[in-house]
């Protein structure tokens, strides 16, 4: 085998933040090389450098021993680097054939020699055993087939190195097997593949070599069989148990929410839930660990009535929910700090004061006659109190929420949700993008709520946060609960394995 690509000391800095730091990596011809890492480990940044979307801050890239600079995606194509993104870049309203020849540099002038192109594509498909129907519209073919179209598109443009970004995420088991067959064939033809995944089973099955990234750095490249799943997971997660700032609680017996065999889009591994049964007790923080996109969003939305499960039942405070409607959930004491602050949590073009009273404009406190006349003064003075109590730093409470920093926006949501006096608090990624001070404040508030007897469900892609906060930890993988662990001295090894599906 010969070396196809070598990168040396690649770093990519955004402001003060290193997304990649001093990464070295070689890709041989005809190998399947896996990049393993958590969310935010720097995989995507590195790939974006390889396909010319980002320029590295430092470092060199060599292709077949010659140094290259990849300044644009089209240059990457010319160098024989093709990428299949996790979200396909296909034009739905066009046929498979049209998608493949779209943007073909050889098609000069106004006319395309369709017959010749078609012949070429058919030959290529035949060589790799692809079964694609060239004249179907993208909308008419399955996800697995769309993926083959993407791969074919990259091959048609002469890719020698193929980057597959979480290619199995959207596929069914059978489709995954089909993909692996294709990958083996490509390998046999001498093509190289960079395979990005965090599903241990697949990684162990298909990879020739595995490089593990953690926090932007290469923490090791291993040959197939050198490490078992546990060893890889330990490298990938790389955590030592540190003392939590917070005292962990044993819940008392009362439950605030019970999910009984709940399923939602259960055949989809991505963004679905499959037979989830769990309880949230009063006075505990239940942490949901797992890689993003394994059903966390759906779990939070079902628990707050935004979406309805397809199977199973949910009880809040021992009464079974009949209608999944956010208003009903709010009335029965559910509060929600949603994952997307600006989209789901706040009406950003309204003022801080307006957002603080959002759900309560009809109450006696803020209006006369059930909302017939808003009490502006009461709203203002309440908002001023909240800004004080929750440390919302602003010029004025009449300022648009949009103009606040992320941390202060989160405090507005937190103030609104905490002040509703909830029994169940569903919190998703509460400290994402927040600075240390704001993070600490948000976490303190969650613990304070727990100590008041609120049942808290914490969803976070930040494993440290889960370990730090949770009284009990559940692991979600492909929509299933993979295990339940105590938050006191949690078995990190086991949890990290569960997060990768083993």
């Amino acid at each position: 085998m010969s070396e196809l690509l070598r990168i040396e000391h690649i770093s990519k800095r955004f402001g003060d933040f290193y997304a990649n730091r001093d990464i070295g990596l070689t890709i041989e011809s005809g190998e399947i090389h896996t990049l393993l890492g958590e969310n935010g480990a720097g995989k995507s940044t590195l790939m974006n450098i390889l396909i010319g979307l980002y320029q590295p801050t430092e470092g060199k890239i060599f292709l077949r021993g010659k140094e290259v600079r990849i300044e644009s995606p089209s240059q990457a194509v010319n160098l024989g680097i093709g990428m299949v993104h996790q979200h396909f870049m296909l034009v739905d309203a066009m046929t498979v054939f049209e998608n493949i020849i779209l943007g073909d540099r050889r098609a000069k002038g106004l006319f395309v020699d369709r017959d010749a192109r078609r012949k070429e594509i058919e030959d290529l498909a035949g060589r790799y055993g692809f079964n694609v129907q060239l004249d179907r519209l993208i909308t008419e073919i399955s996800v697995g087939e769309q993926q083959r179209v993407e791969i074919l598109k990259a091959l048609y443009r002469g890719a020698e190195l193929l980057i597959l970004d979480e290619p199995t995420a959207a596929l069914t088991d059978i489709e995954v097997e089909g993909l692996f067959e294709v990958m083996e064939k490509l390998k046999a033809e001498g093509k190289s593949i960079i395979f990005i995944s965090h599903k241990m089973r697949e990684v162990l099955h298909i990879s020739d070599r595995i490089t593990i990234l953690r926090a932007g750095e290469n923490v090791g490249t291993v040959e197939r069989g050198e490490l078992d799943g546990q060893g890889l997971a330990n490298l990938m997660i790389g955590r030592e148990l540190s003392e939590s700032h917070y005292e962990k609680h044993e819940p008392d017996g009362r439950t605030v929410a019970v999910m009984d065999h709940i399923s939602y889009h259960k055949d989809s591994k991505h963004n679905g839930l499959n037979d989830v049964t769990m309880k949230i007790h009063a006075g505990e923080i239940v942490g949901i660990a797992g890689v993003d996109g394994n059903g966390q969003t759906q779990l939070a939305q079902i628990l707050t009535g935004v979406i309805a499960p397809e199977e199973g039942s949910l009880s809040l405070k021992d009464s079974r929910v009949s209608a999944f409607d956010p208003l009903e959930f709010i009335r029965s004491g559910t509060a929600h700090v949603p994952e997307d602050r600006n989209l789901q949590g706040l009406v950003s073009d309204m003022s801080i004061a307006d957002n603080l009273v959002l759900k309560r404009t009809e109450t006696e406190q803020f209006s006369r006659g059930h909302g017939l006349l808003l009490k502006r003064k009461a709203i203002s003075s309440y908002a001023a109190d909240m800004a004080e109590k929750y440390d919302i730093r602003c010029r004025s409470i009449e300022q648009d929420v949009r103009s606040l920093s992320g941390g202060n926006q989160q405090k507005v949501i937190l103030a609104r949700e905490m002040e509703s006096g909830p029994d169940l608090l569903v919190v998703a990624h509460p400290t994402r993008g927040l600075d240390i001070g704001a993070t600490r404040f948000v976490r303190d508030q969650m613990v304070a709520a727990r100590d008041r007897g609120v049942g808290v469900l914490l969803i976070s892609a930040d494993f440290d946060e889960i370990l730090e906060m949770s009284d009990r930890i559940l692991v979600l993988f492909e929509g299933q609960i993979m295990g339940e662990y105590s938050g006191k001295n949690p078995p990190i090894d086991e949890i990290s394995m569960a997060m990768t599906g083993k």
Binding site: L343, D349, S351
Partner: protein, 357 residues
């Protein structure tokens, strides 16, 4: 209510747009060989120079206020009702049936006709609304298409069902059922008063009640509204119905107060005029009333201008169009990141200066 740069730009941009449009209008007048100062003066005299002239301006403003409030209300809830014209026409059809066929006359007929107009307009708004929330259909397309249906239906009414003799028009609303004038010697009727009161009521609703608060929240961010327990779809449907009812009420008021009969060209253009005026008025119902008055003044004064100085009335149309173009462009400008950054830099500098002083 919002304070700060957002609403300041909301006042400055339309005012500057109007001044700029008038300036270009003056240049055009000069190019046509007229003295711009004289022509402008005759425009103003034509609109406000005498009691009858003011009356004419207010009369012309009345339907525009209704259709612009119609557009404004739906926009506030984040949906685009481009069907104001159709709803206006349906309202006037309902009104003509009430006054001509029920045998009721006088004040009861007026009240009944106004209510019937509002109900019919509301129904015409309900259809695109319900299609939007249950089937996800594009409300703009459907409401525009319903304009054509309404216009053609009106055609059937004045050429067939309620045709008066050989002329393709309906009979006139009987004298005793016509909306009375508010002040003798001025043409405008109680329809104008209703329009202004409606604007004030809408302002109160939008900015002083919980329902209006929620409606605005739905308009700004329907996802957050849903997460916070607002019945988003119900608000969207309701805003369409109310928006249609406003236009329908306008249609019946126009019929009872000004036109008296349905005829080819009735209400033509009012719907889209309303949309433009609502935008210039920054979707504020009170501001919208003033914008409608301004446009009505340009229209009322144009005839006098043409008679006095020979400048054609179409110059007035050009000015109106320029106001719309400049306002829309101006608002787009203030939303550019470069522009907001510039404002912020200036604000920071000023803050510093204040601190140093």
């Amino acid at each position: 209510m919002k304070k700060g740069n957002g609403s300041l730009a909301g006042v400055i941009v339309p005012v500057l747009s109007i001044l700029l449009a008038l300036l270009i209008g003056a240049v055009i007048m000069a190019c046509l060989g007229a003295n711009p100062a004289t022509a402008m003066k005759s425009l103003v005299v034509g609109a406000f120079g005498s009691k009858p002239n003011i009356g004419t301006t207010l009369t012309k403003a009345t339907p525009l206020i209704f259709t612009s409030l119609c557009a404004c209300f739906a926009y506030k809830c984040g949906v685009f009702n481009l069907g104001g014209e159709g709803q206006f026409i349906i309202g006037s059809i309902a009104a003509i049936y009430v006054t001509l066929t029920t045998g009721i006359t006088g004040v009861p007929a007026m009240i009944l006709a106004l209510i019937a107009g509002a109900v019919a307009g509301g129904f015409w708004g309900f259809i695109p609304g319900i299609l939007k929330i249950t089937r996800g259909q594009n409300e703009m397309i459907i409401s525009i298409m319903f304009n054509y249906i309404a216009t053609l239906l009106m055609g059937v009414v004045y050429t067939n069902w309620l045709r008066e003799g050989s002329v393709p028009q309906t009979q006139a609303v009987p004298k005793e059922s016509q909306l009375p004038r508010v002040i003798t010697g001025m043409r405008f009727t109680w329809g104008f008063v209703i329009a202004v009161i409606l604007g004030i009521v809408l302002y109160y609703f939008l900015y002083r009640t919980s329902g209006g608060f929620k409606l605005r929240a739905v308009g700004i961010n329907p996802t957050a509204a849903r997460f916070n327990g607002f019945p988003v779809r119900r608000y969207i449907l309701a805003s369409f119905i109310v928006s249609g009812a406003i236009a329908g009420l306008g249609g019946s008021a126009e019929l009872l107060g000004t036109q008296f009969r349905l005829i080819n060209g009735f209400a033509s253009g009012y719907g889209f005029d309303g949309v433009a005026m609502a935008l210039i008025g920054q979707l504020n119902p009170i501001a919208t009333i003033f914008v409608a008055l301004f446009f009505a003044a340009l229209r009322a004064g144009a005839t006098t201008m043409q008679a006095a100085t020979g400048v054609p009335t179409s110059v007035s149309d050009i000015i109106q169009a320029l106001v719309i173009v400049f306002t829309v462009a101006g608002m787009a400008l203030t939303k550019l990141p470069e522009f907001t950054a510039f404002l912020q830099r200036r604000a920071h500098r000023r803050e510093k200066e204040v601190n140093n002083a």
